[in-house]
């Protein structure tokens, strides 16, 4: 790090200086680090809630968690994973990597960047404190349908609403920052169609965020005014309609789940070419496919609502549009396979996670396609089949993507190689644990087990036990991952500039660890890569 006159400063001031540095930093690397640590911390908290859920579901009957508390765990687990783990994790990666990948000295709006981050610890403190409020935390599922949330929600619901507003503001400001950065600060020669794919996926994700987070803000405000200010958006008594809640919520909610995966697609598109030592196949196709997915994500929201009494025409429309999304998604998968094909592959940990991502995310995509068929959906809706589907696309999808990216870029961030043997152990244990936890859920769902239930009938017992054991193992793999990350920060084999033999891109031209300030003058593009990668 740059030497300050630190040694001359007395101890107490050094503590304040340390706090002030992190509180006030406008450096994209430090803010990226802050986002990543926030995400990792909340991962453990929401993961602990998952442990409570799986502990209770280990056997039929009520053992550890009474129904009211269990519903709070289910709700908070979902809220924190979506808004506190996946989204901040991807924003952290964006902060670290986008300026480095486009050859910019920092984000376009560094002070806004700082503000966007610091909203979040306050938002999550507010949200988590609701666990200790009278009436408990929100208990109506992360989707907070009316009137369960409007009329019957506990007092903490209002704090949940304010927390969501804060998270939304953070996301929108962050997204504006990312778009302005990408549009304006690319090094000369880097046209849009020469940008790394991670940057493309984040550009598109940022537009999605700006368009749909305000819709969430709107619907959550309607819940607030229905609760306290005499409106009846969602109450039939006042001329409103609970189903309208679902329409507005899912108009946000569906693009949201693509926000939760697109950066992961970008990460896979960076990692696979590196370890196959071969350029990404079909770059243009990949860009168009991502844009197509983003566009289509706006017109499929009704597939969450097939059992609400939707008219036939609407059911057919949403079925066809949802099935259509499989096409650009499939195109992306085929392009990754084509990138691997006749490459020259090595299987370091980032590549393992990237391949695991492609395979297991695709399984999640398949169950999504099955869910799209409306008549079959009548049997799948609100069962564990849906829970299996979204956990496959979110865990091996978003989380494996984030882990892959972390292993891939840790050497650049810290200057040290992570422990490859431990990384591989992490990967293989996680693959086993993820499948042990979530694959049986397909079967319990097909057998008729509804979701969000604290207790279940006997025919679901065996698979639930397997899932819970898998979940315990999965929890342990996170501890291993934390250990690996901390170990790498503290030391390890020195990383070279290029780090990986097949790595291409501007971020692999700066020293490892990346200096506090990089690309203060715009670099040459395309860069000449050093030959010092492993």
């Amino acid at each position: 790090m740059v030497a300050h006159a630190a040694d001359a400063i007395p101890q107490r001031s050094r503590v304040w200086a340390y706090i002030a540095r992190w509180l006030l930093t406008t450096n994209h690397k430090e803010i990226g680090t802050l986002y990543l640590w926030l995400s990792f911390t909340l991962f453990f908290i929401a993961g602990a809630m998952a442990m409570v859920i799986r502990l209770e579901l280990f056997q039929p009957g009520i053992q550890f968690a009474e129904p009211l508390f269990y519903n709070q765990m289910v709700t908070m687990h979902g809220l924190i994973m979506v808004f506190g783990v996946v989204m901040p994790g991807f924003v952290g990666l964006a902060n670290w990597q986008i300026p480095l990948m486009i050859g910019a000295p920092d984000m376009a709006l560094p002070r806004l960047n700082n503000f966007s981050f610091w909203i979040l610890p306050f938002a999550f403190t507010l949200l988590l404190s609701s666990l200790f409020m009278e009436g408990g935390a929100p208990n109506f599922g992360w989707t907070f349908y009316a009137p369960l949330s409007t009329t019957y929600g506990p007092p903490s619901t209002d704090f949940f609403i304010f927390g969501v507003h804060m998270m939304g503001i953070s996301s929108v400001l962050g997204a504006i920052n990312i778009i302005v950065t990408i549009f304006n600060l690319r090094t000369p020669g880097m046209t849009l169609m020469k940008m790394p794919l991670f940057v493309w996926t984040w550009l598109i994700t940022a537009f999605l965020l700006i368009m749909v987070m305000p819709v969430l803000a709107g619907v959550v405000t309607m819940v607030l005014t229905d609760r306290h200010f005499g409106t009846s958006f969602f109450s039939a008594a006042g001329g409103g309609d609970p189903v309208m809640f679902q329409h507005i919520f899912w108009f946000f909610g569906h693009p949201e789940v693509y926000i939760l995966i697109l950066p992961g697609f970008g990460i896979a598109s960076q990692i696979i070419p590196t370890f196959a030592r071969k350029k990404l196949f079909g770059y243009h196709s990949m860009v168009y496919a991502t844009a197509a997915i983003a566009f289509l994500s706006f017109i499929v929201w009704g597939h969450h609502m097939f059992a609400t009494g939707m008219p036939l025409a609407a059911e057919l429309f949403f079925m066809y549009a949802t099935m259509l999304i499989a096409v650009p998604t499939g195109v992306k998968v085929f392009n990754w396979v084509a990138t691997m094909w006749r490459g020259s592959m090595t299987f370091e940990t980032p590549m393992l996670f990237a391949i695991g991502f492609v395979i297991l995310f695709t399984i999640g995509g398949f169950s999504g396609l099955m869910l799209a068929l409306v008549p079959a959906d009548f049997q799948y809706q609100d069962t564990f089949f849906v829970v299996a589907h979204f956990h496959y696309v979110l865990y091996p999808g978003a989380i494996f993507g984030t882990m892959a990216a972390t292993y891939y870029w840790l050497p650049k961030w810290t200057g040290h190689m992570y422990d490859e043997r431990l990384g591989k152990i992490h990967f293989w244990t996680a693959v086993v644990a993820v499948n042990l936890t979530f694959f049986p859920m397909h079967f319990t769902g097909l057998a008729g087990m509804p979701r969000r239930i604290v207790d279940y009938s006997l025919q679901f017992a065996d698979f639930n036990m397997v899932s819970s054991i898998g979940a315990g193992l999965l929890g342990l793999t996170q501890v291993l991952f934390l250990y690996i990350v901390i170990k790498t920060i503290r030391g390890g084999e020195k990383a070279s500039t290029r780090v990986w033999e097949g790595a291409e891109g501007l971020e692999w031209t700066v020293p490892s660890p990346a200096p506090h300030h990089t690309f203060e003058t715009p670099p040459q593009f395309p860069p000449i890569m050093q030959r010092d990668g492993r």
Partner: protein
């Protein structure tokens, strides 16, 4: 350098406006949803605008086609009334003007005001049910222990799709909080019907 700053400023303003615009769009979805439901009749919301008898297409000789209408009643939580249809179902001919009543009795020891909210199944048939007089058009007020029969005068349009043979009309009676209770027999604003 200045150029970039200017560009950036324009982009930030544009993007922030997009965000604010989408917030407005979220609220716009509310009337959009109502309009969509009204125009298509989907969702079973029966706007039940009073049809002016003079303008009503009630034919002197209603068509031969008959449909069955079932009448249902629900009472909202905390509403201390007994509420039921006087007839469970009627066979009506399309275009024929019919009359039925719902019975309501206030069990409580104080005056209570209620608002009946209709719902029709199948949803798309809602717009073919034309009400000339309906107790759902206005709030209903009953003194303690009082009861009343409430009128419903309607006809089913002869343009009802051919596949519909049975219509279910359900009213849910909700309690109107004292502060919102209008004076007796007041008509609600049309957007609340």
């Amino acid at each position: 350098m200045n150029d970039t700053r200017n560009n950036q400023r324009k982009q930030v303003i544009l993007l922030a406006s997009l965000a604010v615009g989408m917030l407005g769009f979220a609220y716009a979805l509310v009337p959009l949803y109502e309009v969509f439901c009204e125009v298509t009749g989907l969702n079973g919301k029966n706007y039940g605008r009073a049809v002016d008898p003079a303008v009503a297409q009630v034919q002197a000789a209603p068509s031969n086609r008959e449909v069955t209408i079932q009448f249902l009643a629900h009472v909202g939580n905390g509403m201390p009334w007994e509420f039921r249809p006087t007839e469970h179902q009627l066979k009506v001919r399309l275009g024929e003007l019919k009359f039925t009543e719902y019975y309501a009795r206030n069990r409580a020891a104080q005056t209570v005001t209620g608002q009946a909210v209709p719902s029709v199944s199948p949803g798309y048939a809602a717009k073919y049910l034309h009400k000339i007089e309906c107790f759902c058009f206005s709030q209903q007020r009953l003194e303690a222990g009082a009861d009343q029969r409430m009128a419903l005068r309607f006809y089913v349009g002869d343009d009802l799709p051919a596949e519909v043979h049975t219509l279910s009309l359900s009213y849910t009676l909700f309690k109107v909080p004292a502060v919102q209770a209008a004076s007796p027999g007041a008509r609600l604003a049309s957007n609340q019907q």
